[in-house]
């Protein structure tokens, strides 16, 4: 069910694509220094023309645009990961963050920062391995002898594993005894797009794209899974294979996002909900629409993070939680069990 008519649902993806373009442009314009729209276009498409100051061109090309595009990628990855998690566990409370995968990724990233100088190879690798470890442990704990996944065990295991990895991360911070490494590690915990570089996008882009395509291919199977594990089997979808693929893909998405931007919360929880209300639960629509909306949301949240206390910069995770948590509570209160 969705709260809009079928015609509105048809247009939502197109509206979101327009919104993405507008958001990318706005994110490039807005900042401590406002860059006129004309200068943005001139910087991007105008070659080395004299009409734009070299300073503006540098800001647009090397700072703002990679940052905005990274926001788009990370927001999309988290939202799609959230959709997949909620579908996998048939539980609207599931999100990459709640299940401890992001905490695992942070621990892995912290290890990479402390012991491998946070190199661009070891950092995503560390985050990925941490995420995979957390995901596998939670999955293993929640899967009983009868091969059914217990939702309660799942949530509890996720909370426990998340806490455990957070403790490890805290311990690593303690070991780092201040300095640059400390601030590097704290960056993961608070989440932010401030270190966006084209290399980040070159790494995160292909991983996210591949995992996104993977999840999208499984959209129909996720629909079948809402019939329950046995129900899915009876319409020809093998739930065990589906679980394995979804865990790999959501771990990839989450790990890639966290490796580049830290643990940004609430996008993976709230965006899927809002989109489900707008376009209904069919994952073939829900997944692409959530990707677009998640990307837009993070771009605007990052704009707020850059401007609210300018020239100081807030961690974007603060903004997403600040907007996301009350909105989620509002949904919980007004929609109740229909969530």
């Amino acid at each position: 069910m969705n709260i809009l008519g079928q015609r509105a649902v048809f247009w939502i993806p197109f509206g979101l694509v327009v919104l993405v373009l507008v958001s990318v442009l706005a994110g490039t314009v807005v900042g401590p220094v406002t860059i006129p729209v004309g200068d943005v276009f001139a910087s991007l498409f105008g070659g080395e023309s004299e009409s734009v100051s070299p300073m503006h061109r540098l800001i647009v090309r090397q700072i703002r645009l990679p940052r905005v595009l990274l926001g788009l990628l990370v927001g999309s990855a988290l939202a799609v990961s959230g959709v997949a998690m909620q579908g996998l566990f048939r539980n609207p409370l599931a999100s990459p963050y709640i299940l401890g995968i992001a905490s695992g990724a942070s621990t892995g990233a912290a290890l990479a920062i402390l012991f491998a100088a946070g190199s661009l190879v070891f950092l995503p690798l560390g985050a990925f391995l941490g995420a995979a470890a957390a995901g596998l442990i939670v999955y293993g704990l929640a899967r009983g002898r009868d091969r059914r996944t217990s939702v309660f065990t799942l949530i509890l295991a996720g909370v426990a594993i998340g806490a455990l990895f957070s403790a490890v991360t805290s311990f690593l911070i303690y070991l780092s005894s201040g300095g640059e490494k400390l601030s590097d590690v704290l960056f993961w915990i608070m989440g932010g797009l401030g270190r966006a570089r084209w290399t980040s996008i070159a790494i995160l882009g292909p991983i996210s794209a591949a995992a996104f395509i993977g999840v999208f291919v499984l959209a129909r199977d996720l629909n079948a899974l809402s019939l329950g594990e046995e129900g899915a089997f009876h319409v020809g979808v093998n739930p065990d294979a589906l679980y394995r693929w979804l865990l790999v893909l959501t771990t990839l998405l989450t790990a890639a996002a966290v490796a580049m931007a830290g643990t940004i919360g609430f996008i993976g929880l709230v965006i899927p909900h809002v989109m489900r209300l707008l376009v209904g639960p069919d994952h073939r629509r829900l997944i692409p629409v959530s990707a677009l909306a998640g990307g837009c949301f993070l771009i605007w949240a990052d704009m707020a993070a850059r401007t609210v206390l300018a020239p100081a910069e807030l961690p974007v995770g603060v903004i997403t939680a600040f907007l996301g948590a009350p909105f989620f509570l509002y949904l919980l209160k007004t929609r109740g069990t229909r969530l």
């Binding site: 329950g228 319409v235 020809g236």
Partner: protein, 267 residues
């Protein structure tokens, strides 16, 4: 399609067998009811037949093909299941749920084919849920929901329909409505295996009844042969009055609350 169950044994854990040496042949177009106490193995047998569980020994063949050798998708093209209690994870519409019955016949993406739309429309009509098509699956009553899942199973256009206590939670009117649809499918030639608690309904819906007891088939045959007071006492430990309505030719089973009273009046 015919089903051949041969010497099937299954245990969820090694110490407590759920099925022991079960054999049952179901002819194409026949409907067989599985009756018996809770925990006697009815649901387990259905799960083994559907390929969901692999028996530790013995075999299940559908038209000479072993179920083990077929993947979930190939099984789902010829066999559908309606469970006792199925809840939807998300807020799908009734039509979307029924359309999920087409999953084994369709590609991952793309629009519904002409065949898909025809099968869905037919299933909605047969299950008598056309009026609910645009409602949320979560907003319909329990009786309606079971008909929706029956509709979904019928949209699969299966040759074999398995039902696991589909009417247990339904009121009398919905029980009758549901079972009438099942009986009509049987008349159309669908092979049906249904686990059911209501012996009176079972007697009307099935060609044969298999009484299960402690993981074995204790009795099997036409309802009139199987549903006898001694058999019911042996399997359920309950005294029952069993008779046939003289005009309607309807078998009825009346369980007695009072101990042993029923026995004396019947024998």
């Amino acid at each position: 399609m015919r089903i051949a169950i041969e010497a099937v044994s299954f245990a969820y854990d090694p110490d407590t067998p759920a099925l022991t040496d079960v054999g049952l042949g179901i002819a194409s177009g026949e409907s067989v009811a599985l009756a018996g106490p809770n925990g006697s193995g009815k649901s387990t047998l259905l799960r083994v037949v559907s390929g969901l569980l692999r028996p530790q020994s013995g075999s299940v063949h559908i038209d000479d093909r072993p179920v083990d050798s077929l993947g979930a998708r190939r099984i789902a093209r010829c066999l559908a299941m309606v469970e006792q209690d199925r809840s939807m994870g998300f807020d799908f519409t009734v039509r979307e749920v029924v359309a999920m019955g087409r999953i084994p016949h369709r590609g991952r993406f793309g629009r519904e084919s002409h065949d898909d739309r025809r099968a869905i429309a037919h299933a909605l009509e047969v299950a008598d849920i056309q009026g609910l098509a645009d409602r949320s699956i979560r907003a319909v009553s329990g009786g309606e929901r079971q008909r929706v899942f029956l509709g979904m199973a019928l949209a699969q256009e299966p040759a074999v329909l398995l039902l696991d206590e589909p009417t247990t939670h339904l009121d009398l009117r919905h029980q009758v409505r549901f079972m009438r649809i099942v009986r009509e499918r049987a008349a159309d030639g669908m092979t049906i295996l249904i686990a059911i608690h209501d012996l009176t309904l079972a007697a009307q819906a099935a060609d044969r009844i298999a009484l299960m007891h402690a993981g074995r088939i204790a009795e099997i045959g036409p309802p009139g042969d199987v549903l006898t007071t001694p058999n019911v006492r042996r399997v359920f430990g309950v005294d029952a009055v069993i008779g046939e309505h003289p005009d309607l030719r309807m078998l009825y089973v009346l369980p007695a609350l009072a101990d042993r009273n029923a026995r004396s009046s019947e024998e």
